[in-house]
């Protein structure tokens, strides 16, 4: 690989330049979001114009005149409110800000160790009339829900009735007891519900409380998760921060490593790459860094909508790794060495595409027993034939109208070769030039995304788009990110679940190569920002269950449960928005064509802003666990929603 020298690090920022406001789209787009605002505020003028041409005095009198400071509450106003809690009317968000700040400070204080947890040292966070039970159950009260050689998981019993008392220090000490003696402690509160008394004198917030303690000698880790309803005493007149007046624990769970180990997984990337220069230069820097130094017109973007594929590229029976990259950075193929380390594939292997790519699959498309490669690029899918040794040649290109994201392969017509289903998200960004930005409409149930496509393999690298004749064109303008095949009804053919952003998902039942969307009847529409889907048997009953990645959003939960969120909107629509922020979904297969939504009951909904998730049995106990990749956009500031 050729590396170009970068200038030495000697930049000094010019004294503060103007900070520009406004978004590109809002400035230039005449008919996207800003238009509803434009036309709304212009009504007055147009009405005045109508008045001017009005014939009868009656018309004139009822015709509105221009009101300059018209408080039109359009969509934009609502969106602004979502992003600026200080906007009048969102007192609950203003309360959240100060309460969360108090909790952050308290967490920081508690992390310093038990010595500081006295009534005096914590008095600034707690009101004098404080009451709360002991927040950590006695060991004898705990119910063990899981135990093996690796982990012990214990919870408070369902009928747990903790002892009430009035000393905050006692409450906290009981909760932090399992962390006593830990070398490194982490405590975090995440507030996701706020309810404010109408007169503004009292408030209750609900928080996820997470703690982690690492012990050395012997190595072990303790992790606690609790949900607390926290009542706040507010002072109406002064600027003093709110104080906690009571805490009611809603749930409690503690888990520990059981063996002499402090974690199940360790990061061995560095050893796998053995100090490779390419790894250092290409895989250590984040995309923000590249996006600041590469021209945006070559497809460079930093959102990280790039995935990877594992498969045997060079025919040595060992899985290799192929990484997709945004435009301007080449896709990377690393071959596995016998010892588990990686080497760069030879330079002329034909996989180092520099266009913006999204995802890739290693699959044998021509049934010659080697792994061909398909790469989802800008608006195409490249089909690359493997010569058997890991050298790839372009054999075809499938064209998609919008912005294809992912591909999932299966032989849907059981003719012996692999067909391809491609999720086309839709062109949210309008390619280059923000004039063409499009928005999901309506936001909670958008049906203006790109059309997904099923390509039938006709042999000899010929593929036909059979979306329509297969029936997959139903309900097919969703903003689809991911799909996965599974015979959910155990009838011998493969059905297809499609996870869609901004709204409902699809479950296409396969009846002899013809598909019907039965998501609603099956109870798996999951109206949410669907990011991805995976199948597994969560309860080992022999029927495939579904796990869908969505977004658990603290802000979304807090806001959508307020009365003033979308006033006047019907409760069903509001429910959709609330559901939007709920998080990941686990649907248990009832075996009769329907599913049971077990997301919250199973404790798997809080997967944050989730992307990939996967079932896998990571401790060989015969039960499939779930791993979730999450987090949207972490940058230098800490001002997260």
């Amino acid at each position: 690989m050729r590396l170009l020298p970068l200038p030495k690090r000697h930049a000094i920022s010019l004294r503060r330049l103007v900070v520009f406001g406004g978004t590109l789209a809002a400035i230039l787009s005449g008919c996207t979001r800003s238009d509803s605002q434009t036309s709304a505020t212009d009504i007055g003028n147009t009405r005045a114009a109508v008045e001017a041409v009005a014939v009868s005095p009656e018309t004139a009198t009822t015709a509105p005149v221009a009101v300059q400071s018209s408080p039109f509450g359009g969509k934009l106003a609502e969106e602004v409110a979502l992003f600026d809690p200080k906007v009048d009317g969102w007192r609950s968000e203003a309360l959240y800000e100060v309460a969360q700040r108090q909790l952050n400070e308290l967490a920081h204080h508690l992390e310093q160790g038990a010595d500081g947890i006295t009534s005096a040292a914590t008095s600034s966070w707690f009101h004098v009339d404080f009451s709360a039970p002991l927040l950590g159950p006695e060991p004898s009260e705990l119910v063990t829900s899981y135990q093996d050689s690796l982990f012990v998981v214990q919870s408070a019993p369902d009928e747990w009735q903790p002892v009430a008392q009035t000393d905050p220090a006692l409450s906290l000490v009981s909760f932090l007891q399992p962390l006593a003696g830990a070398g490194k402690v982490r405590i975090k509160f995440k507030t996701y519900r706020v309810s404010l008394a109408p007169d503004g004198t009292a408030a209750t917030t609900r928080a996820l409380v997470s703690t982690l303690g690492h012990f050395s000698d012997p190595a072990r880790t303790v992790e606690q998760h609790a949900i607390w309803d926290i009542s706040w005493h507010l002072t109406a007149t002064s600027d003093a921060p709110p104080q906690i007046s009571s805490i009611v624990p809603e749930s409690y769970q503690v888990s520990r490593t059981n063996a002499e180990t402090d974690r199940l997984f360790t990061d061995c990337t560095d050893a796998a790459f053995k100090g490779s220069e390419l790894y250092q230069k290409a895989l250590l820097p984040g995309l923000d860094d590249w996006a600041a130094r590469l021209h945006n017109q070559i497809g460079m973007e930093s959102e990280g909508y790039q995935g990877m594929a594992m498969g045997d590229a060079n025919g040595d029976d060992l899985d290799d790794l192929y990484l997709c990259q945004p435009g301007g950075l080449p896709n990377l193929l690393f071959l596995r060495n016998a010892d588990g380390t990686l080497r760069e594939a030879p330079a002329d292997n034909g996989t180092d595409w520099l266009e913006r790519t999204r995802s890739a699959l290693f699959v044998d498309l021509d049934n010659d027993s080697d792994q061909d490669l398909l790469v989802v690029c800008n608006t195409q899918v490249l089909l690359l034939e493997n010569d058997g040794s890991g050298k790839f040649t372009k054999r075809g290109m499938l064209q998609l109208p919008g912005s294809p994201f992912s591909c999932t392969a299966a032989d849907y017509d059981t003719d012996g070769d692999l067909d391809l289903f491609i999720c086309d998200y839709g062109d949210l960004w309008g390619g280059f030039g923000d004039l063409n930005e499009r928005f999901p409409i309506p936001y909670h149930d958008a049906n203006n995304g790109g059309p997904n496509a099923l390509f039938r393999n006709d042999g000899a690298w010929q593929f036909s788009n059979v979306t329509q004749e297969s029936g997959l064109d139903q309900n097919n303008r969703r903003w689809s990110l991911s799909a996965a095949w599974e015979d959910f009804d155990n009838d011998g053919d493969l059905d297809l679940y499609v996870a869609n952003d901004f709204g409902r998902n699809n479950l296409f039942r396969n009846d002899g190569g013809k598909f019907t969307d039965i998501a609603e009847a099956a109870g798996v529409e999951d109206i949410s920002p669907g990011m991805s889907v995976t199948w597994g048997d969560a309860n080992r009953d022999g029927w495939p269950d579904l796990y869908v990645s969505n977004m658990f959003s603290g802000a979304g939960n807090r806001i959508t449960f307020q009365d003033q969120f979308m006033p006047g909107t019907d409760t069903a629509t509001k429910g959709h928005y609330q559901r939007f922020a709920r998080g990941n979904a686990l649907f248990l297969n009832n075996g009769d064509g329907t599913f049971l939504d077990s997301s919250e009951a199973s404790g798997v909904s809080v997967g944050r802003w989730a992307w990939a998730s996967r079932f896998g049995d990571f401790n060989n106990d015969g039960l499939e666990d779930i791993v979730v990749a999450n987090g949207f956009f972490t940058q230098e500031d800490s001002d997260d929603l």
Partner: protein, 649 residues
């Protein structure tokens, strides 16, 4: 986010342990995968063949990649846990056997796995199927249902804690031996890579340099030019300058002009003196110009438009401009003389060779190099309040590229942006001309029809507006805003039935479209369908109770409708009184007029008279459109109130 803001960032990856009781336990911390990464993709596979499932995670931020190695095989007690890994080989079905389902039966029951290619987010995992067997070491039965085969095939000789290959039709598993002697992969916490603010940004498609008065006589001379932004207080600037001055003859020989733009504090009265002294000391022969605040702002906006993650223009910074006045490279931080000379030599290479320079690593492209695109730059200038500059920039761009731009919609984009720039600059007729050019470039360019239609609507040219807007609706019937604009044109044409039809259609597209609902109510009111109008206004208020005109009109109907069962003077007073009491409403004669009618309907002619008189006062004090019939109407109403008669619509 382009400016460096987080959004749902610093979230820890999650791991849920299946406890077998219908519940999962959040053991993200115990798993060790609880990094704060913006993780995206996950691929599973037993990478080190130790019988425990590992995975790779791919991130947006630094470090991009993590191999999460499962340590459980070396934990005490792991010998009591069993597993099997299976790989399928299709013979009559697809060779990868994608879609096949394997069932494994042990004393404690049967488990299955289905082989998939592509699931999760942009991820493909290993084709090895990994099954944990708990405490069961014996495998009783293994069956595979191959895609397209109705009968499952049973495999014998599958032993636990091994890797087995199951080939279709053979009925016997073959053990696969992983490579032996693998050294352990040692754990090491990867450090986030430090952010490097310096950069050499090669512009794959070169945008024209913005017109800057300060460069008069220097830019656009047909020779390449290096613009160096520097300040006397900036150490690295001076180091860079010394290096360039030392090799000034090489630049000259290669035909490169160099101009320095000094960016010292403009409020410093000693600035010219400092600059002269510094340049004298350095023995500089380069042309130097004193940059004003605006020039620096424009250059900053220009460079921000060229990268997705935008960072401020640092000092020093340089712009390499080619002989045709297009910017080819931006150097942030010190530009090395050798690098500049090498880039200078490459300037005349073709677009393909030049694009290679824009990528930091080698690789292949399957598409042609991009054409320059001025849109983001023009938008940045608009953001900066430089509408005229934005328009000039686009016009210059068009002068060079209009004939060659492909596709035509891209050309239309540029004309459309020009229209926006002119319109922001207050040049309405120039804007209209640009929108017309956009339509000429692309007859289906919907947004231009909308903008032109909107402009005509504001000028009361309702018929002309209607023609354009109906074409826009034809081009995309899914955009509620355009439909409502057309409805407003029809409103101006007094075609109330059309307004009703269009607004109702818009509401099917977007039920919460306020303007559609308001216009619908208004049209119904004009058609004297008072009850429907009142209901619709009430609907508007339900969506947004701050909709004051809807409130006014609703109160007017309640006060004046000929329909006895609809009129409700007290309710009308209640509604309109709030408006008259509000800061925005207390000076509006129309609200006071409505209040008068409401009081009259409620039988309170004293207050009705008072309100009408206040309305008349406001007409003269606040000014109303010329030729308005409002004062005359109010006089009529006053007469009626004196006779204790309410107003009827």
């Amino acid at each position: 986010m382009a400016e460096g803001k987080s959004f749902s960032g610093r979230e820890r990856n999650s791991f849920f342990l299946n406890t077998g009781s219908g519940k999962f336990a959040d053991i993200s911390g115990l798993s060790g995968f609880d990094y704060l990464d913006d993780a995206r993709s996950i691929c599973l596979g037993d990478w080190d063949f130790d019988g425990a499932l590992d995975f790779w995670a791919y991130n947006r931020n630094s470090p991009r990649l993590r191999l999460m190695r499962n340590t459980s095989s070396s934990a005490a007690g792991s010998e009591s846990r069993h597993w099997v890994a299976l790989r399928l080989k299709g013979v009559t079905c697809n060779r990868d056997a994608i879609g096949a389902r394997v069932e494994v039966t042990t004393p404690s029951g049967t488990q299955f796995r289905t082989l998939r290619a592509g699931e999760g987010f942009l991820s493909q995992s290993s084709k090895w199927l990994h099954l944990g067997l708990g405490n069961d070491s014996g495998i009783e039965k293994v069956t595979v249902r191959w895609p397209g085969s109705p009968e499952p095939e049973t495999f014998t000789a599958v032993t636990s804690n091994t890797f087995q290959i199951l080939e279709q039709g053979t009925a016997t598993a073959t053990q696969w031996m992983p490579p032996s002697g693998s050294p352990p992969l040692d754990p090491f916490d990867q450090e986030s890579s430090p952010v490097d603010e310096t950069a050499r940004i090669v512009l794959a498609a070169r945008p024209p340099l913005p017109p800057l008065e300060i460069l008069d006589g220097i830019a656009n001379t047909g020779k390449p030019l290096l613009i160096n932004v520097w300040a006397t207080w900036c150490g690295p600037c001076l180091e860079e300058l010394s290096a360039m001055i030392a090799r000034a003859s090489e630049f000259k020989q290669k035909g490169l002009d160099i101009v320095l733009l000094n960016a010292d504090d403009p409020t410093d009265s000693d600035r010219p003196n400092k600059v002269a002294k510094t340049l004298g000391k350095l023995n500089s022969s380069f042309e130097n110009r004193i940059a004003d605040e605006r020039t620096v702002s424009i250059l900053d906006a220009f460079q921000r438009a060229l990268t997705q993650r935008q960072r401020p223009l640092p000092l020093p910074a340089s712009f390499l401009v080619d002989s045709e006045g297009r910017v080819a490279v931006i150097y942030k931080g010190k530009a090395e003389v050798d690098t500049v000379l090498r880039d200078l030599e490459m300037l005349e290479s073709g677009p393909d060779a030049w694009r290679e320079q824009a990528a930091p690593f080698a690789g292949q492209w399957y598409q042609h190099p991009p054409q320059p695109n001025p849109l983001r730059i023009a938008m940045k200038f608009l953001d900066l309040g430089e509408a005229k500059l934005s328009a000039t920039y686009l016009e210059r761009f068009l002068a060079t590229y209009a004939d060659t731009m492909e596709p035509r919609s891209a050309l239309a984009d540029v004309y459309f942006a020009l229209g926006r720039a002119h319109s922001t600059d207050g040049q309405d007729s120039a804007a209209a001309g640009a929108y017309q050019s956009a339509i000429k470039a692309d007859l289906n360019y919907r947004k231009a029809y909308v903008e032109l239609g909107h402009m005509l609507l504001k000028r009361n040219s309702f018929d002309a507006a209607d023609r354009l807007l109906s074409r826009a609706v034809q081009l995309d019937r899914s955009d509620a805003d355009t439909v409502v604009l057309e409805a407003m044109a029809r409103l101006g044409m007094q075609k109330f039935e059309d307004v009703e039809k269009l607004c109702r259609f818009a509401l099917t597209l977007q039920p919460d479209h306020l303007t559609a609902r308001y216009n619908l109510a208004f049209a119904l009111q004009q058609m004297k369908r008072h009850r429907e109008a009142a209901d619709t206004y009430a609907g508007v208020l339900k969506l947004a109770n701050g909709q004051i005109m809807a409130a006014n009109n609703l109160a007017w109907i309640l006060a004046t409708s000929p329909d006895d069962s609809l009129r409700n003077g007290r309710e009308a007073v209640r509604i309109i009184q709030q408006l008259c009491d509000s800061p925005a409403g207390e000076t509006q004669p129309i609200f006071w007029m409505t209040l008068g009618a409401a009081h009259a309907e409620a039988g309170d002619f004293v207050n009705a008279t008072g309100a009408a008189q206040r309305a008349l006062q406001l007409c003269s004090s606040t000014g109303i459109p010329k030729g308005s019939t409002l004062p005359a109407t109010l006089q009529e109403q006053l007469l009626r109130y004196q006779q204790s008669k309410p107003v009827r619509d």
